[in-house]
Amino acid sequence: MFKQMIVKEWKEKIGLFLFALAGLLLFALAFSGYSKDKNTLDILATTLVLIFLPVFSLLLGASGFSSELQDGAWAYLFSRPVKRWRIWLAKYFSLFTILSVVILLFTLLVRLHPALKPTPDTFSFPLLDEDISYGILAFVLPLLLFTTAFSLSILSEKTHAVAFLAAFVWIVLQVAVTRGSFSLLNRGMFYSPFSLVSILSILIPLSLALASLVTLNRADFSQPRSRAWMFTKSAAAFILASVALVAVFTFGTGMFQRDRYIYNLEARNDAFYFATEKGFFRFDLAGGQTKKLARHPSMWGYMSMAGDKLAFTSYDYGGGWRGFAQLRIMSSDGKEDRLLVGTENQGSPLYGGTIYPVRISPSGDRVAFIVKHGPKATAEDLWVVRSDGSGLKGYDLGIPDAEYYMIVGFGRPETSVFVLCVQRIRPGNRDARMGARLLRVDLESGGVETLADQIRKPYVASMPRETWTSGPGGIAYIQHDEAASKEILAVLNPETLEIQTVDLEDSVTAFRWNKSGDELAFLTAGSRLGVYSLAEGRIVQVKEIKGYDLRWPSEALEWTSDGRIMLRKIEEKVSSICFLDANLSEQKAIRLPFRSHYASRIWSAGKYAIVEDTENHQLWGVDLGTDQWLRIY
């Protein structure tokens, strides 16, 4: 029956399929015509993914039962000896094959079209202003819309009306779900809303699909009103059941209440500062106590410390479904928490924007931060404000399509800021191949200078904050050497702007400053561990290492306070952290107090080595004097 149904549906929907084919062809031609105009390419790509594919999916789904509902044909089909759920399934599957073929053609188009070549995986969408993979928008969204429209198609043979209704229902339910879920934000469940919205976005079309199945199975199709009523009742019941199910998991099991991420903020000699979705915390090294500093939900852990001041970004949801980013400042013990810059004021150039990384100057007088994605198209991305809230000033970095930023630090004197920016990858944006750039922004003249480009992950790290203002110091980064086709380690002197490069045979994959800021430990793709002395301008140690856990290399390496290198190790499924002596030989290994399949991030603060239990979202610290483990969070 499935085969016959597929043939029948393909024959019936061939017009719709040809419409999709013609549309894709037109887009292909348009991509060719505008291959050098990246803004138009962006708009075309957005239209294709956010409008064309969803509209096609809606129309295809809405046509699901149209031919059966015309002229009482349902009675003919239902009089056949076949279970109705099989009819439903066969139809859904048949139309799904059409949708799949269109999406496959779409995939081939975006993969093979020369104008879209630089963007094999992702590109940005002006409407969303986010990097979103094709997977979510081009596959999941059409499938969910198609399912919604298909479910509603049992209500009427009028395809366009059903498509419109499906779009309306989809938007209303999404807004309701989003609004409902976001109310959890003020309970400190920062990631919960996003998880809930995602889960409910799937469960709602599934609920509608089940409701249509129930309606098909039980309703009297000769009575459109009773059919609609049964569908409405069933849909409401299934949606409520979905919400209840998710609520049980959310509040009953704590599944979505757990922290998803722990952000390392600052390791000092007296304390280790970190953030979770629930707020900011300080682990006191002497007392072994963890204290919550601020209840504000953290914004991806963006925080910066200088002296006794701590600047951080947060979101204020104010009970509504839309939150506003805030830049706040407080003392390092969590007191005197106050708002520095808000984005809720419609008159402000920062209105509605997202505050990205924040950096407080070493003297604590100024705070630099990045604002993006506001509805007001301002040229300024970098903003600087005094720590008393005065003197807000914006700077245009002059980099089109700049997306990810990192404020590396303030210069000496504090009249310049070093910013790392990554350009958005999108159709036609060949400049994106330049990779990340290190910029120096003069805060007085507003001049922007590119110090380095072709910077690769793990991008860049300034020397530790304690030594930033004193010793020789520098900004380390990994740069792609196109001629040698490898990644090399480079160190920039922020005062003289001289660059030292660390010449190795293979590519550098990770690096880490020591606590005094005069040496860099690094890892290479060939599993070599080395130490580069900034004062001597040469590699003082290098050794091939074996048996260490070098997954996620940028997090696999750390210096202890007493100048030893720390690495992770897995032997026969037992994880431990190892400490190397000056000759890079293993001196000691301490077994982790938990089992983890994932690579754990490691840090060092004072007498503690700190390890993250990635699976359980916990932090553990080991006293290097006593080897005793302590759960920090």
């Binding site: 029956m1 085969k3 016959q4 043939v7 029948k8 024959k11 019936e12 061939i14 031919s67 002229d71 009482g72 044909a73 349902w74 009675a75 003919y76 239902f78 009089s79 056949r80 000896p81 076949v82 279970k83 109705r84 199975n217 039980r218 009297d220 199709f221 000769s222 009575q223 009103r225 009773s226």
Partner: protein
């Protein structure tokens, strides 16, 4: 006569509107049953319930003495259905429709389907939407018969057909099917056409079966009486079973069912100057039954 299908106390309503209640109906095996009723009396609704397409509010259907649940697949394997409007997936070709239906029926007889196409002069490659209404009806018939149904339900299929086509359809196919043992339930507006083929009559009126009788009996015991009196006709004829009556001056007409010699005698007691008794056509019978 053994019963192929039997309903007990079927009730169906749409909202506040009661379509029928406590409907008891029996279909004798191998017989042609005519289902008559005015528009909107619930014939199509009854047929859809019998087909398991829509659920009754209450009541039971038994097929071959076994209770049939709503949506029963096994039961539907044995029931063929030809709706009022020939419905097909228009984009299909004749052969594709047959293949499409073959997937549903265990007893699908492809040879018979091919024979029927030949007999009905249908081309497997012809697109359905290009067929005339008469040809579509034949195609529906071919689909229904190739599945080898024990019960064939026809919901007013001949309306809109020209006379020769209707005649062929009724005389040749339906009668032939009945003769071969297929039970038929035939609902139609063209009452007179049933006359040639029907064995048993149902008349559905105002939510109940007002007639459930063999056609021969109905034909034999339904009579129109014309009476002429010297003065004004009596207010009542004093007999049971008067389906309808009309008065005009000294004349009076009545249709009586069941007719009997006793009833004639009773009428003669009113001393009419003229008493004329005559048989009725099926159409006249139907009109008389629903006139009251």
């Amino acid at each position: 006569m053994s019963e192929l299908l039997k309903t007990t106390n079927l009730i169906k309503s749409f909202g506040r509107h009661l379509v029928f209640s406590n409907l008891n109906l029996k279909l004798g095996e191998g017989k042609v049953h005519g289902l008559l009723g005015l528009n909107g009396e619930g014939k199509t609704t009854l047929i859809r319930i019998l087909l398991g397409v829509i659920p009754p509010d209450a009541g039971q259907i038994q097929y071959k003495d076994n209770a049939v649940s709503y949506r029963s697949d096994a039961y539907k394997q044995e029931v063929g259905y030809i709706p009022e409007d020939p419905f097909f997936y228009g984009g299909m070709r004749v052969g594709e429709l047959l293949d499409f239906n073959a997937a549903f029926y265990r007893r699908w007889d492809a040879m018979r389907a091919a024979d029927l196409l030949k007999r009905f002069s249908l081309d497997r490659r012809a697109r359905i939407r290009t067929l005339s209404r008469g040809m579509k009806l034949r195609l529906e018939m071919a689909v229904a018969l190739a599945a080898g149904p024990a019960l064939l339900v026809l919901d007013d299929p001949t309306s809109g057909l020209d006379v020769p086509t209707r005649y062929d359809f009724l005389q040749d196919i339906i009668r032939e099917l009945a003769d071969s043992g297929t039970t038929i339930l035939f609902s139609t507006h063209l009452v007179h056409e049933l006359e040639r083929i029907v064995d048993h009559l149902f008349i559905l009126h105002r939510g109940r079966l007002i007639l459930d009788e063999g056609y021969e009996t109905v034909k034999k015991f339904t009579r129109r009486v014309r009476l002429v009196f010297e003065g004004e006709p009596p207010r009542t004829l004093g007999v049971d079973g008067v389906l309808c009556e009309t008065r005009e001056g000294q004349r009076m007409e009545a249709v009586v069912y069941p007719w009997s010699a006793d009833k004639q005698k009773k009428m003669e007691e009113f001393s009419p100057t003229l008493l004329h008794v005559e048989p009725l056509t099926l159409e006249q019978v139907f009109r008389s039954f629903v006139a009251g």
